[in-house]
Every structure is written in structure tokens, then in C-alpha cells.
């Protein structure tokens, strides 16, 4: 995401990623402490989505500072990633009707990780077109 005019975004984006990572670990760890009040566990679990919202905000700011080619790559990546994400959810939804998809492997949290993976693959595909 680095461009000639992009000087502030990378450190803030990495900071947002680090913050998200910490919140994610905290949220996942909250499940382990069954004696913790429910409201507190829910609060800790929701830290990660809030941190991710901040990360999305920084990513958006980074995209706005990119030059036109990088912005085009991001747009094409999203145009690839969104339909693939829909396809993935549809496939899993249909499979779920006929076979047992274990929660340990196909929870919303795993699905989220798959969608993020689809986005990064899409960026690589889009970038290759102009490379």
C-alpha cells in the first residue's frame, strides 16, 4: 500500500493491526475464564470487532492516500473478493443443510478468517494484472 505520497498511513495501519491482534487474543482468551461475569466476557469478545472497525478506518484512509493505480488495484480486488465471499458463504450454507460442518472448524470466526484470506488473494490477483 506504499506510494510516493503515502507517508503517514503505514505506521497507523500497522498500529491498528497490532491493536486488533491484541484485542483478538484478549477476546479469545475471555472464553477460557468461565467464572468471569457474562457482561465482561461479552465486552472483551466485542473488543476485536471494535478494533477491526478502527483498522478498517485506517485502511480506508490509506486507500484515499494511494495513487490511482493502487486505488484501481484495491477496487478490482474488492470486485473479485466480494463475489467469491458470497460464493463461499453460499457453498457452506448449502453444505450445512446436508452434512455436519463442525463448529470447531466452520464457526463465524473461521469464516471471517476465510473472507480475509479471500481479500488478500484478490489483491494479489489484481496486482499481478498490472505488474
Amino acid at each position: 500500500m506504499n506510494t510516493a505520497s503515502n507517508s503517514q498511513s503505514p505506521p497507523r495501519t500497522f498500529l491498528a493491526m497490532a491493536l486488533f491482534g491484541i484485542c483478538m487474543v484478549t477476546g479469545m482468551a475471555a472464553v477460557e475464564f468461565a467464572n468471569m461475569p457474562s457482561a465482561l466476557r461479552i465486552g472483551l469478545a466485542l473488543l476485536a470487532p471494535l478494533a477491526f472497525l478502527y483498522l478498517i478506518w485506517q485502511w480506508r484512509n490509506g486507500v484515499r492516500q494511494m495513487d490511482e493505480l493502487e486505488r484501481r488495484i484495491q477496487l478490482e480486488a474488492l470486485a473479485i473478493a466480494f463475489p467469491l465471499s458470497v460464493l463461499l458463504v453460499l457453498t457452506l450454507g448449502m453444505l450445512q443443510r446436508v452434512i455436519h460442518l463442525p463448529f470447531e472448524d466452520f464457526s463465524y470466526r473461521h469464516l471471517w478468517a476465510m473472507l480475509i484470506g479471500i481479500y488478500f488473494c484478490s489483491v494479489a490477483i489484481a496486482r499481478k494484472r498490472y505488474g
Binding site: 510516493a4 493505480l69 493502487e70 498490472y130
Partner: protein
């Protein structure tokens, strides 16, 4: 769209990076334009023309031309 950007740039002895800095875009953008993998936006094409003192039509032209 085809272009003569690389020829014009090299005639001025400019690197892709320097040209990119002067135009406010990345070196990758200049490279993609020169390799005809990416067509610049109108504002960028006009900036390129102005930088080299040439009409845009002398730098960029349609595939059929």
C-alpha cells in the same frame, strides 16, 4: 492504449522513480503505464503532457492508430 512514455522519459534521462515523484504517483504506476498494462487517468495524462511539454496525443494514442 499505447504510449511513447518510456521513449520520452529516457530521452530526458529521467528514472521511473523520479518521474513518479514529479507526477505524484508511484514508480509502479509509471512502470505499468510504460508497459501498457495501465491507462492513466485524464488528469495524470495531462500532467505527463505538461511535464514533457508535449500534447497528450503525442504521448498516448489508441490501439487502432
Amino acid at each position: 492504449m499505447k504510449n511513447k512514455l518510456k521513449t520520452i522519459r529516457e530521452a530526458k534521462e529521467l528514472s521511473q522513480e523520479v518521474l513518479g515523484e514529479r507526477l505524484g504517483v508511484s514508480r509502479q504506476t509509471i512502470n505499468a503505464i510504460e508497459r501498457e498494462k495501465y491507462d492513466p487517468s485524464l488528469p495524470l495524462a495531462l500532467k505527463i503532457g505538461k511535464l514533457f511539454g508535449k500534447p497528450v496525443e503525442q504521448i498516448f494514442f489508441l490501439d487502432s492508430e
